[in-house]
Symmetry: D2
Subunit: 360 residues, 4 copies
C-alpha cells in the first residue's frame, strides 16, 4: 500500500509502497484510512528538527502521521465495541506498560518516557492507506462528523489542557455567583488551529474569550471570533485595552510572547503553557514571582491526551457542528493527495489553518 | 396575556388572561414563551397531590410551568450576555439568598429550604405568553435546537445526577484500563423521559447501558435502545440474565422496584435515587447492609439542577441532535395548544413520552 | 515459635508451636511481634461464623491476627525506608495484582475479590512471635506511641471511611462560613472501639459529635465524651431531643438501629454504613426514598483501608496522645498472654473496649 | 495596655500604652495575649519597606503582630465553641465580605483585595497585652502545645501551600504503587522557619525530603534533618548529586535561586512559589518552557491560609510534639520582652530561627 515515509533525522518525506503484512489478531482491528491531518510536528520531523523522532525498533524508516481518521474494515476476535463500517480515530501515544499512569490508560502522564507515539517516535503512523491497531486505542466517531473528525487529535490535546485548568482551579471557588464562568476572561495567545480550539472550548464553557495575535485578524479569524462572541485583539498595539485575565493560554512557546501578559493576570488566575519553540527567552524578575505568590496564580504545562480526551473531543466536534454549522469545515483550508503532501510537509501553504490528506 | 393557572391544593388548571405589569428593570429580560413541557410534577399540582405547591406570596393563584423555552424580546440595562432574538431556557429554582450553596449559585443544594421554584412553589411559572426574568437565571440556547430545547429542564436534572455519580466515584479508580468507562454497566430503571435521558447520558460516557422496565419495549423505546447500543431488559422475567451493575439509577421511586436489584450490584458500584413516589415499601435486611459495606457501595439522592447543569444539558441536546438526528424529536410525542393543555394536565395521554405546549 | 492457630470453619483457637522457615528475601523484613489486638472478626472466625475465613493455600490451618504491632529485627536487601529497631504496623489486605485499584495500592477497593487478608483469609496473621513481610506493606510508627499503636489497624478503617465522607461531600459546599465544620452535627451509632474512633475523628474535624447508644454511658464512655466535647445520647428515650444530623455513622450493622435515624438527617447529609451483622431487618418506604432524593442525601458503605490510611491513623494516634494524654490507653482494657487469649477469643470479657495480646 | 505600635511607612516601632475600649459584644471574645512571633513581614513594616502596610481607617498608627497566641478571658453572648481559659490562635486575614471566596471563609483567595490583615493592613495586630476578636476568627489550641502554638500562624501558610500541591497533583496518579508518597522527592529551597515547616510537612506525607541552602547546615539544621530523615544539601557545590525532584518549594523569592533547579524537575512535578523578594531576576528560555509543557509540570503561587489551615496546623504541631519531642521548641531561638522587641524588630538577631515576644 501507499504510505508517506520519513527517515529521521534526514530531511524530506517520500510517498512509497510499503507492505507490512499485519494480521488482524484477537483484540485488533483493520482500518482503512480516510484522512490524515498535517501539523507542525509533522513538518518538524520532515525538516529534520524534531530530535526525538525515530522509526520503530528494527526499522530504518517511519510512516508519518498522527492525526488520523479511518473506517473499520475488519475486527479481530473479542472486539465488542466496534464493527465493520464504524468510523474511528486512533490515539497517538501508547503507554510504557510499567508506570502507574500508563497502566490506568493515562499515558499522557507517562513517567518513564518509554512510551511510543504513532507517526512520531517508535511506532508507524497513519499516513498510509490502511493500518491495523488495537481496539483499545480506537475512538468511535459519529458518521455525522466524518468531514471534520480528522480534527479530533489536535482538539484532544486542548481538551486535556482545559481539563487541567478546571481541575486545578477547583482548589478555590472559581465559578461565578450563578455557578457559570461568565465572570471570567480567557486570553488565548495564538490563533492557529490549537489557539482556535482553545478559544472555542473556553467560549463553550462560558468564558469571555480574547483571541490574541500580533496582527489584525484574517477574514476567517474574524468569522470565528464573531461566531463565538470572542474579541480578537491585536497585541502589537500593547495590552492597555485588555481587561484582567483569569486564564491565559500560550500556544506559541515564546516566553517573549506570554511573559509580558503576566502583568494582566487576575488574582486566582492560571497560565496554560501549551506551545513549544526554541531560540527565545524573557526575563523573570522577583516582582513577577511576588505577584504569582501574592495572587495565588498557577501555571500548568500540558501535553498529549488520553483516550477519554479523544472521546470528549469527538463530542465537542459533534456539538459544534450542530451549533456553528460549517465553521469547523472552514478550518480545513485544503484537502490534498498523498503525492501533493510531500511538498506541503516541507513548507506550510500560505493561508493554511489545517491541511488534510485524503486517502480514499 | 394568556396563562395556565392553578390554585393549589385545589384540583384543576385554567387558561385565563392575566396581567402582571412586569417592567424590564436593570439586569432583567422580557421573554416571549415558545414552548413549555408538561411533567409529572405539573400533573401532581393540578391533581392536588403535591403538598408543597403554593402561589407567590400575596397571590391566590400560581402560574404553572417549569420546563420553558422562549425568545428574548427586550433586555434591561446592564445585561451583557443576552440580546433580542436569543433563545433562552430559564432555571427553575431560585436560591434562599442566605445559605452558602445558594450564594454561590448552587441553589439545587439549598440548605434552608427557603428557595422558590417557578411554576411549583412561591414563584409564577412559564406557562404564559411572556415573562420577565433576571438575566442571571437564563441559559442561552443555540438556534439549531429550537425544536428540542424545551427538553433542557428535565435533562438538566439528569446532568446534575450523573455529575454526582462521576464525582462520588472518583473516591476510587473507576475508569477502565484505557481511561474510558467501557468496562462499566449502567442499569436505568424506568424508560420515561428521565430514564431515557439517563440512558443517553451513560451511553455517551461509554457505559454499557441496560434500560429496565417491567414489560417489553414500545417501538419508540426499541429505536432508542438500538440507536444508543443499549439493551432493553424486561424485568418481569427476573434478573438472572443481567450482568452485574456498576451503576443503578432508579427513576421510579418505588423501593420494591430497585431494592431487589441491589443484589446485582458490583463491588464499588453506586445507586442513584432520582424518582419519588408514595405508598410502597420494601424490606432491607442486615445481609444487604453487609453487602453495601463489604463492597464499598454508595447511594446518592439527587434533585434539581444548577445553571451550569442547564448549560451542559443544552450542549448534550446539541450534540445528540447532530449525532442521532431526529431521535430527540421522537421524545416529543405531542404538541398542543394552551387550551388543550388543561385536559392533558389532568390525564397523561396514552403513548406520551413528552407533551409540549406551543405558545407562539 | 508460638502462634495462635485456627482451622475454620472449626470452632476454637489453639496456642501451638509453628515453624515457618521464612527467609528474609530482598525487599522483605523480619518483625518481632509486640502486641496484637482482638476484634469481633477474630471472635467470628474462632466461633466458626465467618464464612470467608480460610487458611493459606496448601495449609490446613491459619495463624490468626490482623491488628499487629512489631519491631523490625532484620531487613532484606533493597529495603530503604526501614531499619532494625523501627516500630511497624502491617497492612491487612494484600491486593489481587490484577485489578487497577490493587495495582495502585488501593486494594481496599479490590474489584476481583481475589485479595488475601492476613489472619482472615488466605494469609497467616500476626498472632505469633515473629513474622516476615514485604516492606511495602509495613507502616512505620513513632516510638512515642508504642503503647497504643496496636490500635492503628482498627483506626485505619475509620480513617478511610471518614475520607470517603469528606470526598463525597465535596459535591456541594459543605464547610461552614468560616471554612470549618463547626456548623455540622455528626451522630455515631455505637460506642465500641470503632464508634469511639469515629467520634474522635469527627471531633478533630470540628463537628459537633453525638455518641449514640441504647443505654446510658459507662464511666469510660463519659470520660471520652467529656474529653472531646461530645454529647452521649441514650436512644432508648427516643430521638426527639436530638438536633438534625449532617452525618450519621452506623457501626452496628443493624438496619433497625439506623433506619429510624434517617428521619433526623439534614439536607445534604450523609449516612456511613460501617457495621455488619445478620438476622435483622427494617422497612424502607417510598417516603424515606423521597426524602433521600429531595434532600440530596448520600449513603456510603466503607470497608478496609489502604496503606496511606494506616499512616494517617498513626498520625492521629500520635496527635491524640499529646492532646488527650492517656485517653487512648483507657481504650485498652486488658493486656493478656497468648495462652490467655484462647479464652478471650471465645468470649468477650465484660467491660472490654479493646483486649490486647502481649507477645514480647 | 502596653502595645507595639508602628506608623507606616515611617521606620521604627514603639512600645506604648494604648487604650482601645473594646467591649465584648455578642459573638466576640476578650483574649489575653501570651506570645507573639516576629517574622520578616514585621521587620519589613518596621523598616518602612512594606508598601501595603497601613493603620486601621481613622487611625494614624497600627498595632503590629500577626503571629499570636492567647488565652480566653471573657466570651460574649452566643459564643458556644470557646470558654474562659481556652488557648486560641487568631486568624490573620479578614475577608472583604463581597467576593465568593471571602463569603465561604476562604479569604486567603480573596478576589477584590479589599481584605484587612491583623498587624499588617487596616486592622490592629496582636502585639499588645489583650485584644477582642470575633469567635469565628479564633482557633482553639490544646493546652499541651502552649509552648509552641505561637508557631501556628507561620505553619498555617505552609499547610495551605501543601494542600494546593496535593490537590493540583490529583490531576494525574501521583501516589506510588503502595498508595504512599515514598517514591517522591521534595526539594525545599531555604531552611528558615518556613522552609523547615515545608520539610516537616513533606516528611510527614512520606516524601524523601531534601533541604537546600547555599551553605552547610547549622547544628540546629543538622538535628532537624536527621530527625525527619531528610538530606541537607549545600547547593553551592552545584546540583549534580541531587536526584530528580517531584516537588520543588521556593521559600526565597529569588528567581536566580529556583530557576536553575527547574532542570532537575521530574515529569509530572510541581514547583511551589512561596517566597517573595525584590531586586533579582533570571532568564527563562524557550527550552525551559518546552520542558514544562512536555513534562506536564505545574507551578503554583500560594499565600495566606484559611481558618481550617490554622486548625490543621495546630494538629501538626500537636503530632510533631509527641513524635519529635522538643524539636519544635528548638525553633524558638529566643523569648524576649515587649521592650526588647523594638530592637529585635529592627535587626534580626544572629542565629535566629524564630524570636518570640512574651506578654504575660
Amino acid at each position: 500500500m501507499k504510505a508517506i515515509v520519513v527517515r529521521p533525522p534526514n530531511v524530506g518525506a517520500e510517498v512509497k509502497d510499503v507492505d507490512l503484512h499485519e494480521p488482524v489478531l484477537p483484540g485488533r482491528v483493520r482500518i482503512r484510512t480516510l484522512y490524515t491531518g498535517i501539523c507542525g510536528t509533522d513538518r518538524g520531523i520532515v525538516g529534520g528538527k524534531i530530535t526525538f523522532a525515530r522509526p520503530p525498533d528494527n526499522s530504518g524508516e517511519l510512516i508519518l502521521g498522527h492525526e488520523g481518521l479511518g473506517v473499520v474494515e475488519e475486527v479481530g476476535e473479542g472486539v465488542t465495541h466496534l464493527k465493520k463500517g464504524d468510523l474511528v480515530v486512533p490515539v497517538v501515544r501508547r503507554g510504557c506498560g510499567v508506570c502507574l499512569n500508563c497502566r490506568i490508560g493515562r499515558q499522557d502522564f507517562c513517567e518513564t518516557g518509554n512510551f511510543v507515539e504513532a507517526g512520531i517516535r517508535g511506532l508507524n503512523g497513519f499516513m498510509r492507506e490502511e493500518f491495523v491497531d488495537s481496539a483499545s486505542y480506537l475512538v468511535k466517531v459519529p458518521r455525522a462528523i466524518a468531514d471534520i473528525a480528522v480534527l479530533t487529535e489536535p482538539l484532544s490535546n486542548v481538551v486535556k489542557a482545559v481539563g487541567q485548568v478546571i481541575h486545578i482551579q477547583k482548589r478555590m471557588l472559581w465559578t461565578c455567583g450563578d455557578s457559570s464562568y461568565e465572570c471570567r476572561n480567557a486570553f488565548v495567545v495564538g490563533t492557529g488551529p490549537i489557539g482556535t480550539f482553545f478559544s472555542l472550548m473556553f467560549a463553550t464553557y462560558g468564558f469571555n474569550v480574547y483571541m490574541l495575535n500580533r496582527r489584525d485578524p484574517s477574514p476567517a479569524e474574524s468569522v470565528i471570533a464573531e461566531t463565538i462572541d470572542a474579541t480578537f485583539y491585536n497585541t502589537s498595539k500593547g495590552y492597555a485595552e485588555l481587561p484582567k485575565a483569569d486564564v491565559v493560554v500560550d500556544t506559541s512557546g515564546y516566553p517573549s510572547a506570554f511573559i509580558p501578559l503576566l502583568g494582566k493576570m487576575n488574582k486566582n488566575s492560571i497560565l496554560v503553557l501549551f506551545g513549544t519553540s526554541s531560540n527565545d527567552s524573557a526575563k523573570v524578575d522577583a516582582e513577577l514571582v511576588t505577584s504569582i505568590v501574592e495572587n495565588n496564580i498557577a501555571v500548568v504545562g500540558s501535553v498529549n491526551a488520553s483516550k477519554e480526551d479523544f472521546a470528549e473531543a469527538v463530542n465537542y466536534l459533534t456539538m459544534w457542528k450542530e451549533r456553528y454549522g460549517g465553521l469547523l469545515n472552514k478550518m480545513i483550508t485544503s484537502v490534498i493527495s498523498p503525492e501533493q503532501a510531500t511538498e506541503a510537509l516541507m513548507k506550510k501553504p500560505s493561508g493554511e489553518i489545517k491541511t488534510v490528506i485524503k486517502w480514499s
